[in-house]
Symmetry: C2
């Protein structure tokens, strides 16, 4: 019944989390449909589809309710055409569950979108914590020239809905290179959610 | 209904958390009964009872259920007789709620005790995350010569029971200086919980 306390070391260079209980990685070819320029994506996949874009290590406790999941995300730097590498992104299946992200190395953005399509973009860097409140769809973006490493924490019963973004044709904006910096541009493929879709996202809470 | 995303910078030197929504501090005189040597505590209070031993800054969202509270703890270095400075310590009022602590600066220990009186001590330092599972009573200890700064995260509906430790005459062990290091010694004032007290701690869950 009683779980054992544990101790975990974060390596800001590799994103490794000692004594993690699970991990996964996403290679470029796993991210079909995520980027705006399909031709550039196909060309990149032809030469380096096996390339790892990001990986996650986490610790998942036995108890699903009331407990926490924590871990690290490591994102390689890179772009597809002028669009920076991104994670697939998700909203929590149990919508009223938040998430914290904490910068360990590199420079990134947390791109967030409400069910109604409001957009927020917050910069993440070492010692910066970004709070993603309940109901916000979120995706991480590496805007730097080096790996972006973050640690995260969220309630163990949150779950992830990864289809919420693809069903809307992507997120409302994309983040592209602008000289040495970045800017967000409207996503022409985006289809705002209708009232029923919005209501459904808010219904998934306890 | 929808909360606003937010961004917070941790200062590892001061423990300050930008855009915190709340804070509190504990001065030496607030910690009567916490340390083993009452005469040494009284003598220290007579000269420096106003001294801040630790302070906490946190961000508490509007929603209590399903959400997270996060923040920072700053602990001064110091001792009462040979016992290192500690936080008052607590168990979560809703017992099946955990907590994560992450080292930002300095060197410390997380002292944990199960309802049955099992003791675990894990070292915390920069880049080290300690997971305090549900039902474990926990207290932070600064064993270094400089401030101990940690960030933490726990479910927003956890609550704190601060009396659980004093009702048992303290925690089962105390941590004292041992040359340049530390060791744990039995607390002679400790009264192990009886079966009813243990059962009551496990009853407080959802």
């Amino acid at each position: 019944m009683l779980a054992e306390p544990s101790r975990h070391v974060v390596d800001p260079a590799s994103g490794a989390l000692s004594a993690a209980t699970g991990s996964y990685e996403k290679r470029l070819r796993d991210l079909a449909g995520v980027y705006g320029d399909a031709a550039a994506f196909d060309a990149a996949c032809a030469t380096s589809g096996d390339r790892v874009v990001y990986k996650v290590e986490d610790v998942r406790p036995a108890a699903r309710h009331g407990d926490l999941i924590f871990g690290t995300t490591f994102m390689e730097p890179g772009k597809i055409a002028d669009e920076f590498f991104v994670t697939r992104g998700h909203v929590h299946a149990l919508g009223n569950r938040p998430e914290t992200y904490y910068g360990e190395a590199g420079e990134g953005l947390m791109l967030m979108e409400s069910p109604e399509g409001e957009v927020r973009i917050l910069k993440i860097a070492p010692r910066v914590l970004v709070y993603v409140p309940p109901f916000w769809i979120h995706r991480s973006i590496n805007i730097g020239a080096s790996p972006l490493v973050m640690s995260f924490c969220y309630p163990a019963d949150s779950g992830q809905d990864y289809d919420v973004i693809s069903k809307a044709g992507g997120m409302a904006v994309r983040v592209v290179a602008d000289g040495d910096g970045w800017r967000d541009v409207p996503n022409p493929d985006y289809r705002p959610r209708g009232p029923d879709e919005i209501a459904a996202l808010y219904t998934r809470q306890d």
